[in-house]
Amino acid sequence: MGDFWRRFFDSDLWWSFKSSPLVVIAFSITVIIVFSSIFATFVAPYNPFDLAQFDLMDSLKPPAWMEGGTSQFFLGTDDQGRDVLSTILYGSRVSLLVGFMSVFFAMVIGIIVGLIAGYSGGWVDALLMRIADVQLSFPAILIALLVDGIVRGLLPKGSHDDLAVYVLIVAIALSFWVQYARTVRSSTMIERTKEYVQAAQVIGLPQPLILFRHILPNVMGPVLVIATIQLALAVITEATLSFLGVGVPPTSPSLGTLIRVGNDYLFSGEWWITVFPGAALVILVLAVNILGDWLRDALNPKLR
């Protein structure tokens, strides 16, 4: 392990990381948001889901620095008297959970399809890639909306809210797998002809073992770059679907749901209910995007 860290601190990647202040800031912000939302129960001043902890009397209080605001609620309160800062922390937890899980499932589907298509070639490859092409010609958000709509239609009406988070994860994962599949397929086609794969075939290893133990580690690099960039996209997609009212319900709100709820108060002057969750969303997505951009350039030998 010590050896690993020594090699890591010696690498071009680490040098490029520490020589770019923007990337260091973006990384710190991402880490802070991820940790404060994972540990929201300890970090947040209140628990917005605990009915005993908020009071309708405190509703629609402006942020602390404005007239009428109290230091008790730093970013103000929403229509039910919940502390906006706390709802943001709990909300980012839902947003990040959906983001990470959907990217993970998209990655798994994409890797499996890509490995099979790239390794077997022939009609299997042609069929899988045609499906991928067709899907790629539609925007991901439309596919996600559609899957979301279909699954909601298949479920009984009463269970929509309970299962909403899972439905979202499935919908986003199904709209994002294509990019992984295409990348993995093209690298697999290159790896397939290399000697170590031929050697593995000659000693008669079963195909799944060759695919996942031998080829997979060699095609993972670009996959991780795509995953970083897509994390930002997945968070945006989740927020968008929730904003449109077909995502996470207000009972356990994500950032998108918070913005949707707050949007109703925009015209009556209570801007903080919308603007702060919105700002949190933008900062998170921007930080992850900067990281993704940097990682892509840093790992691309063409640009060195």
Binding site: S137, F138, I141, F243, V275, V285, L286, N289
Partner: protein, 321 residues
């Protein structure tokens, strides 16, 4: 050329058939059409008769045939929620979405292409750095948030622009347009900007990347070695070759504009097809969902087909094999 066209047409037909199958499956497996059409006190016998009349007892293949036949005539039955024929509803909403998309596309192209070319030609200047930072922020800002922020500043704080609807609409009989009234244009400004920003950032980044790639190639170096004017190199050599992939991108953008219009329409309560679709999803209104699905697929297939043909006529290398 003929073979190329025939193959593309066949592929397009396959895509449409697949989408039709999905839309048909929606009708089959999601919800019960009979239960959606009758009241609670309808007897079992009446329900059975309705089912027979609707052809729901026919074999699946026959039903699918009927579905495709009706769909090609634009018949999708009645909306479960609004109790009106889907054909009418979509025809009512279509002009709003198209006007919004076209104005946004023009806006995105007029601003995006010059910005992309400039950042590629002067990658180190601070203006380009500024453009790139802006485009990163543009990509990180979800469309709906751009809309909300615009509403907050120009609608609520400054009160310059209307925040919802299409304004005063002039009915031309077969088309309703907001282009002929002042309030129509005023209402269009914010939705059009909201919809254009994401496309714009995409166009800037893609043109820049593509052009940087071209500028590195040998024939540009050779043109420099020949002592050609820098302006002539960038515009008649580099930009021309950049445009081929850019056409594809722009073509596909028009499709995604219509898709992203769903979000913009929802933020600004713009009475277009997207708003209709999102309300249909919330209520699981299958006829509208499947009609919209097929319509969008048709738009995408036609655009893809046009882009392919355009490609073929622009790039002589494709004609070789």
């Amino acid at each position: 050329m003929f073979l190329f066209l025939a193959r593309r047409l066949f592929q397009a037909a396959m895509v449409m058939l697949t989408v039709a199958l999905i839309a048909f499956a929606l009708f089959q497996y999601v919800g019960d059409p009979v239960a959606n059409m009758v009241g609670q006190d309808t007897s079992v016998a009446d329900r059975e008769k309705l089912k027979q009349d609707l052809g729901l007892n026919d074999p699946i293949i026959v039903q699918f045939g009927h579905f495709v036949q009706n769909a090609s005539k634009g018949e999708f039955g009645q909306s479960y929620r609004l109790r009106k024929p889907v054909k009418e509803l979509i025809a009512e909403r279509f002009p709003a979405t198209l006007e919004l998309s076209i104005i946004s596309a023009i806006l995105a192209l007029l601003v995006g292409i010059p910005m992309g070319v400039y950042t590629a030609l002067h990658p180190k200047s601070w203006v380009s750095q500024g453009f790139m930072t802006l485009s990163l922020i543009g990509i990180s800002l979800p469309t709906f948030l751009i809309g909300i922020f615009l509403i907050l500043f120009f609608g609520v704080i400054l009160q310059w622009l209307p925040t919802f609807g299409r304004g005063e609409v002039v009915d031309l009989g077969w088309w309703t347009t907001g282009f002929l009234s002042k309030s129509g244009w005023q209402s269009l400004i914010m939705p059009a900007i909201t919809l254009a920003i994401f496309q714009m950032t995409l166009i800037v980044r893609l043109i820049r990347a593509e052009m940087l790639e071209v500028l590195r190639s040998d024939y540009i170096k050779f043109a420099r070695a020949r002592g050609l004017h820098e302006r002539s190199i960038s515009f008649s050599h580099a930009l021309k070759n950049t445009l081929v992939p850019v056409i594809t991108i722009i073509g596909l953008q028009i499709g995604s504009l219509i898709a992203f219009a769903i979000i913009t329409e929802s933020v600004f309560q713009w009475p277009g097809m997207g708003l209709l679709f999102i309300q249909a999803i919330e209520e699981v209104d299958i006829p509208i969902m499947s009609a919209y699905l097929l319509l969008i697929a048709l738009v995408f297939v036609i655009i893809n087909l046009l882009v392919d043909i355009l490609y073929y006529s622009i790039d002589p290398r494709l004609r070789m094999n």
